[in-house]
């Protein structure tokens, strides 16, 4: 082993709340992008060409008819526009704020070629949906009751989208949610500056408003609820469990005071009073995805002095998009690539620093340490190296279900290996994004509805 470069700075434990005046924190956590003004919305909607077989639609996981909703904005029909959006994506309001549009719809907009600048679809989508929500308008109506009952486990985007789709068809849905509030990561996980003004809660209410959906919070599958019983009592079951554990580094002392799972801390940011939330002075974030970006940026906004994301591969390999990396950097976050943590340094009170080793790829393209190490004093470290589904955490309820890469295996209709059990969202294979979860829930609702129709036509 080569020498370890050490810093002379004082070690660990500088954690305090109120590093910035409350007003500054409030300001820091205002809208990431301000809403479009009427004039901007007009100008921006006029840029849309109304493409035929539009590439942007193809790139939207929920197939929103983008040219159509934009055209409705340009003609002043905002309720109609929002309805077009929400009928394809019931969380179109949230998605407008949280979708990584630079990799979805806006990436494929033909205006990238024509003007090197896509139509800002996400912001227009927000313009239309904000208008509808501000007016408390309910564009949807539930069909007559069919008497069919479905149990939905998990009130995240996947579960709620499925519940809404089923309720629209007149079926009755019981949604069981382990936590005290519905919304899943919309409520507990997504960066605060994307989900202002209780957006998540308002959206849940909007979804429940069509009727036919009963929400049971504080009820977890694997505790009182048993899958076998649910399958007996209901015509179908949908699993929208999301992830339930944060991945571990596998280092000694990784649970010491001062070492946090990023998602746990983000949950506090979303739920607690920010002016009294303690935050470290020198922060290290381990990881390269959106969660790493989110915790880093929010730490900065809370007043952390230095925040460094340490990622073991190169910037191009980060799963955070170029836009997210830029967002972090413009917020004063440093991104250190090609380094990995190898040792957690502690004293009696917990974390004091970390030792990292630089990395390289060997001839076979495998990541390996170079032997060169450096040591940083750290007050707080956040682990953001992904979440996964731990089936033991749901009481082995799903032991009979087929898995694929540690997630619940499904077919094209979101159906699991149990024919009356469907699943979607982060707990199934595929990209972990709100918009995908919504689409999964929507497809599952359609499939469940079709299966009922098939059953009744077979007598």
């Amino acid at each position: 082993m080569k020498s370890v470069r050490k810093s002379n700075e004082k070690r660990g434990h500088d954690i305090a709340s109120g590093r910035l005046p409350a007003a500054t924190i409030k300001d820091n956590f205002s809208d990431l992008h301000p809403p479009l003004t009427e004039l901007q919305a007009q100008a921006e909607s006029a840029r849309c060409l109304f493409c035929h077989d539009a590439p942007c639609i193809e790139a939207c996981p929920t197939d929103i008819d983008i040219p159509n909703f934009i055209r409705k904005i340009s003609t002043g029909n905002l309720i109609g526009s929002a309805t077009t959006i929400l009928s394809a994506n019931i969380m179109g309001g949230t998605c407008a704020n949280v979708c990584p549009v630079e990799e979805l719809c806006e990436l494929k907009c033909v205006m990238n070629t024509a003007e090197h600048k896509p139509v800002t679809i996400g912001r227009l989508q927000r313009y239309a949906t904000d208008h509808l929500f501000a007016r408390d308008t309910q564009p949807f109506q539930r069909a007559a009751d069919t008497g069919r009952r479905i149990a939905v486990i998990g009130a995240g985007p996947a579960g709620l989208s499925c519940a809404h789709g089923l309720a629209m068809h007149g079926h009755r849905v019981d949604v069981f949610e382990a936590r005290p509030k519905a919304g899943g990561l919309n409520e507990y996980g997504i960066a605060a500056y994307k989900m202002l003004n209780q957006r998540a809660a308002r959206e849940v209410q909007f979804i429940l408003d069509i009727g036919g959906i009963t929400l049971h919070t504080g009820q977890a599958l694997g505790k009182k609820l048993r899958l076998a019983e649910l399958r007996d009592q209901y015509d179908a079951v949908f699993l929208g469990l999301g992830h339930n554990v944060a991945n571990r580094l596998g280092l000694e002392h990784e649970d010491t005071a001062g070492m946090h799972n990023a998602i746990d801390y983000i949950e506090r940011i979303r739920q607690e009073d920010l002016s009294s939330l303690p935050i470290g002075r020198r922060i290290v974030v381990i990881g390269g995805g959106s969660t790493a970006i989110d915790i880093a940026v929010q730490s900065k906004k809370l007043g952390a002095e230095s925040v460094t994301i340490v990622y073991r591969r190169g910037a191009r390999q980060m799963s955070a998009t170029w836009y997210e990396q830029q967002l972090a950097q413009t917020n004063g976050v440093l991104i250190k690539t090609r380094a990995m943590p190898v040792q957690v340094l502690i004293d009696d009170d917990g974390l004091t620093g970390m030792v990292f080793e630089t990395t390289r790829l060997d001839a076979a393209g495998k990541l390996q340490g170079t032997g060169e190490r450096f040591e940083w004093p750290v007050d707080v470290a956040f682990k953001a190296i992904g979440q996964s589904l731990d089936l033991s955490a749901v009481g082995h309820e799903l032991d009979t279900i087929q898995l694929q890469h540690g997630r619940i295996a499904i077919d094209a209709e979101q159906r699991t290996s149990l024919s009356d059990v469907y699943a979607g969202g982060d707990c199934v294979p595929g990209p972990d994004l709100t918009v995908h979860a919504v689409q999964d829930g929507k497809l599952a609702a359609q499939a469940i509805h079709r299966s009922f129709a098939r059953e009744s036509s077979h007598g």
Partner: protein, 423 residues
Amino acid sequence: MADLRCNIAGVTSPNPFWLASAPPTDKQYNVERAFEAGWGGVVWKTLAEAGPPVVNACSRYGSVDYNGQRMIGLNNIELITDRPLEVNLREIEAVKKAWPDRAMVVSLMVPCEEDAWKNILRQVEQTGCDGVELNFGCPHGMSERGMGSAVGQVPEYIQMVAAWCKQHTRLPVFVKLTPNITDIRHAARAAAAGGADAVSLINTINSIVSIDLDNMAPQPTVAGKGTHGGYCGPAVKPIALHMVADIARDEATRHLPISGIGGISNWRDAAEFIALNCGSVQVCTAAMRFGFGIIDEMVDGLNQWMDSKGYQTLDDFRGQAVPNVTDWQYLDLNYKTIAKIDQDKCIECGLCHITCEDTSHQAISKTKTADGQRIYTVIDDECVGCNLCHLVCPVPDCISMVEVDNGLPYMNWTQHPNNPMSK
């Protein structure tokens, strides 16, 4: 730099850009600001005979906005000047004295009686102005009182009044024509027959720009009611160009100088009117939309373009497009073009395909490659060369209409075998 000086029916100005008779030329204050900005001339807002002035309603304007752009078309229900005649005459005289090189034409509208015209012409002459323009075009209000377009719609009246004016003034007489008739040539011929020195056109077009769906009334709305107004601005330019071309081509009027008006907003619009034989051009809406500062772009743009073409004076290209305006029956029906798509420029919007597919000749096919790229291809045999895709394509020069050499000779409809009248 080209020489932009203009002389139309003896009225001269340093450039061909005049402000049309309208609010921008309503008083000394406006007109002097316009001259300071560089406008070549004005047609003073229409004067009426002495006595109590007209009264204007409120509000007066309506706009057609398109795709976020304001005032593609403007409509007004304003009348002629609402200021006393003596005040206007005094100001005209003062401005002409201070700005001798600029064209000062005075627009007039009085009842259809010889004495009324004789009187006002005598008074106007004393201002030292360069010419008069007879307003036979105002389509609202004044027409209900037997003036404006009520005169302009009856060729006999046009001829009669023009003749009176020629008889009672030494000044050049411009007759301003209304487009609210079926065939502008009858009006223009009447003006020529009456001895007019020039025609100005177009005045505004009868229009209701929109209905306020909350009040259920036309806009602009005056205490819950609306009326038709006069339409102008960029939207009317094509109508104006057509009428100007008709006069420039007509045997009886081709010698008549034309002051072109209607939607002129920039140098290019002006050049088009001049190419159709206009001697000067007049502008109203564009000035009302942006203020007088646009004159710099107009003068400079025309200069640059003339330099690039090697034209030294306006006469070098005036009327050059007239011989190429013909009747449909003389178009070469053997001439064939087809659309060609430059695949390197295509941004894959699909508009050429869907518009041809839905509304034209199903001549643009669509295929998708394995990696999702959309490819649009013209089916040469199906393409009728209609030009729709070319117009619809958002990318400049991406679709072009390419001439096909089919070896066939010129053949127009009069010669065509399908024409029952051809021998």
